[in-house]
């Protein structure tokens, strides 16, 4: 009864949001942001909110930008006061995040990456923002990534970045190995062949790198099986669905490269940073990765931006939807929720502001022109505006992303496997590490074992 009531409200709000953005379409584009964040509650006592995901102090320029943005936001919204802004790198740092979460001490507006969203909704650790969605004027322009933040018809957060997986490769190594850097592999057979060529460059060269533990193994297994057209759990979320020809294909492919071709090296990659570091080190040819990794490769791992490019995930039928967004602390008051949503919209979703201020980014020598965030419906007002600005200020060579854009077009984006994604990833680490560390690993059996474990896990969670 109650639930369906909410759904109706939500529907009505969505329609309202759509109407609003449609109306905005015709109005003066440049004036809209200020309008959108206008003082609804002007004259009232200021609302205090806290936020996180401030760039670390070590990243001086971005930090300064962010602080400027906060100042501007508060100037535009005199009724809102950002009383506390916390930094962390990366924004989701399990220890810090879980620590605050466990204490109910997360900021009013807090960062959540897609793998954690389901769990936070499930455990009631994020506020239901459905009744306040009208605050985010451009919500209706957002694409399917909003689905990730929905549960039982209620909305718990707003996505601010989204992208599908791809194949990151080192153009320089491709050239060195006599491969065409403008024509990256499109099938797994081509990946295997290219990996062999790169590994043959000498000891220490790795054709293709892959994760095998610390939950990243399961995460990349998921990305791979989605690509093959498979699934990790059944649509109702009650059973494992990866013990299939698609799942076997993922593992057999790795087994082939690791043992028969010997093109994957013998190092173990566990943490997210491990593969990034190896890739930046210039001796690894390819890895699965979203297009957003090129920037950290440059900024945090001292790689040459121009040497890398992203192609589409080979033979992909669907893509794992990576990304992040923001959620609101369940203890927040309605006023705080509205204020928080305004901040999210200002900093992350308003063309020409915050993360979408491409003009500023270009003037500061940051790469501009990457095909993400990919958040808006094709042809929507905001989407068009963002794309135009991005094109106008682009500094990166479009060729670095062209293959990915073209190859990923129209592919369905699939979310992470349910609220227990992390536990499932921990289980899937086992088959991944097995094929990468044990020559005679029995793929069928590994998948059957993992399937039984995931089934048991899901059965218990009901």
């Amino acid at each position: 009864m109650r639930r369906s009531g909410y759904r109706e409200t939500m529907g009505a709000l969505l329609v309202a949001g759509l109407g609003l953005s449609a109306a905005a379409c015709g109005s003066d584009e440049s004036a809209r942001p200020t309008q959108g964040t206008g003082a609804t509650a002007a004259g009232n006592a200021p609302v205090s909110i806290s936020i996180n995901c401030v760039p670390p102090k070590t990243n001086k320029a971005e930090r300064q930008n962010f602080e400027d943005d906060m100042a501007e936001f508060q100037k535009l919204n005199p009724d809102i006061k950002i009383e506390k802004a916390s930094d962390a790198f990366p924004c989701y740092e399990p220890r810090t995040f879980e620590a605050k979460l466990a204490g109910g001490r997360l900021e009013t507006v807090f960062y959540a990456n897609f793998p954690n969203v389901g769990r936070l909704m499930e455990s009631g650790q994020a506020a239901d923002i459905t009744p306040y969605l009208d605050t985010v004027k451009t919500y209706g322009d957002l694409n399917g990534s909003t689905e990730i933040f929905k549960k039982d018809g209620k909305v718990y957060g707003v996505p601010t970045d989204g992208y599908g997986m791809g194949l990151v490769y080192n153009r320089k190594l491709f050239t060195q190995a006599g491969l065409d850097p403008n024509n990256p592999p499109r099938t797994w057979a081509e990946v295997q062949a290219a990996a062999k060529r790169i590994a043959a460059l000498g000891p220490g060269y790795v054709g293709f790198g892959e994760y095998s533990g610390g939950n990243t193994g399961g995460w990349h297994f998921t990305a791979s099986i989605y690509g093959h057209g498979g699934d990790v759990i059944t649509p109702d979320g009650r059973k494992a669905a990866f013990n299939t020809p698609e799942g076997r294909a993922v593992l057999e492919n790795l087994k082939q490269m690791r043992w028969a071709d010997d093109s994957m090296g013998s190092r173990l990659f566990i943490k997210w940073e491990d593969l990034m570091k190896a890739m930046a080190g210039g001796r690894m040819g390819m890895m699965l990765g979203a297009p957003d990794v090129l920037v950290p490769l440059r900024n945090d791992f001292q790689a040459r931006f121009e040497d890398y490019a992203v192609a589409a995930q080979p033979e992909a039928k669907a893509l794992l939807n990576g990304g992040k967004g923001f959620m609101i602390n369940p203890k927040a008051t309605p006023e705080q929720i509205r204020a928080g949503l305004k901040w999210i919209e200002f900093q992350y979703l308003t063309p020409g502001k915050g993360q979408l201020d491409y003009e500023r980014a270009r003037s500061q020598d940051y790469p501009v022109g990457q095909p993400y965030p990919d958040l808006w419906k094709a042809g929507s007002a905001t989407g068009t505006q963002v794309l135009d600005a991005r094109k106008q200020h682009a500094t990166v060579d479009p060729a670095q992303y062209a293959q990915w854009v073209e190859g990923s077009k129209g592919l369905p984006a699939k979310p992470e496997p349910g609220p227990y994604a992390q536990e499932i990833y921990a289980i899937l680490d086992t088959p991944m590490s097995a094929v990468l560390t044990r020559k005679g690993a029995d793929v069928e059996r590994l998948l059957a074992d993992a399937e039984a474990k995931v089934d048991a896990l899901l059965a218990k969670k009901g």
């Binding site: 790198f89 220890r95 204490g103 570091k277 945090d300």
Partner: protein, 327 residues
């Protein structure tokens, strides 16, 4: 064994280092000199100084010295020189024993990149504060339990010693939650030095060591002072503390070294990048750094403890035996 703690560095019954004498008496004639046997061990002195015994002895000695150097010193040498090689040199097969050139570049880079100055400063702050708090809190407590013997003192002591049965690792989650939101007071100690200092003082083993030592201080000494009208605080400060120097040394070293080496607790309670201790800082950034910079940072992080070891070797070893026998 009780005396161990009173005479740090040398177990009872052991003569002054037997290895010292022959060295002083000149190296040239060493093979001819009888192997010193004034300190009797399992091998009989006659056997030892027989022709065969001497061959065996010298073989064993050389083997052990080489073996120990290879196992314990060589890795450290490899670390110090590894930081002087470039990333390419590090990948070279076979590796070179000597770095191609003497350079401190990677060390400087590590210092900059990791902000090691800050991390080391943090760690020193944590260790120093923990030392002060531990001394202040545990010494007074042990003194009260040993000499003032209040009502329920035995129970309190028992409860404190009972904590020795449950290693801190096992209660790390609730302890962490407590530090995050102190019951009654509601303070959040995360990312503050208090999160290190105060739990460090809750150390049953220190209380045990100190109390046992204080128990051995003759009562007459204190009674005399009491009759002279000295307050308990005064007695503690000017009579008990001075005679307890050895044990205070042991407790101090144990505390400082433990805080400096600790990993899990600071990992949990100091998540903020700017508050991290040096171990945590290096571990969490290790995956992002070039190999030679990482190695350089390892060297820098180990220098302080190694220096402390050089300086306080005797106290550390005394603390170790006290800890080993009783802790």
């Amino acid at each position: 064994m009780t005396e161990l703690t009173t005479a740090p560095g040398r177990p009872p019954g052991a003569p002054a280092d037997p290895g010292r004498r022959p060295r002083k008496q000149g190296r040239a004639s060493r093979p001819r000199r009888p192997i010193p046997t004034e300190f009797r061990t399992a091998v009989s002195p006659h056997q030892l100084n027989s022709r065969r015994g001497r061959t065996v002895y010298w073989t064993v000695l050389v083997t052990v010295v080489t073996g120990f150097t290879a196992v314990f010193v060589f890795p450290l040498y490899w670390m110090v020189t590894g930081a002087m090689k470039s990333t390419e040199d590090l990948l070279r097969i076979p590796p070179s024993l000597l770095p191609p050139r003497f350079t401190l570049e990677a060390y400087l880079e590590a210092w900059e990149l990791l902000d090691l100055g800050l991390l080391l400063g943090n760690t020193a702050l944590y260790a120093g504060g923990a030392w002060l708090f531990t001394l202040a809190i545990d010494v007074t407590a042990a003194y009260a339990l040993s000499k003032l013997r209040p009502v329920l003192g035995r129970l309190v002591l028992g409860l404190m010693l009972a904590t020795l049965m449950i290693p801190p690792m096992v209660i790390m989650l609730p302890a962490y939650l407590t530090v995050k939101d102190l019951p009654i007071l509601g303070w959040d100690l995360l990312n503050t030095p208090w999160a290190i200092w105060l739990p460090a003082a809750a150390n049953g083993f220190n209380i045990f060591l100190l109390k046992r030592f204080f128990d051995s201080i003759p009562g007459e000494l204190l009674e005399a002072a009491e009759i002279d009208g000295a307050s308990p605080g005064r007695i503690l400060w000017s009579i008990v503390m001075p005679v307890s120097r050895p044990i205070l040394g042991v407790v101090s070293i144990l505390t400082v070294v433990n805080v400096w080496r600790d990993f899990v607790w600071p990992l949990l309670v100091l998540p903020d990048n700017e508050k991290m201790s040096v171990s945590i800082g290096i571990a969490s950034l290790s995956a992002q750094m070039p190999q030679n910079v990482l190695i350089a940072s390892l060297v820098i992080a180990s220098i302080p403890t190694i220096v402390v070891f050089f300086v306080f070797q005797r106290q550390i070893m005394a603390g170790l035996t006290a800890g080993g026998l009783k802790g």
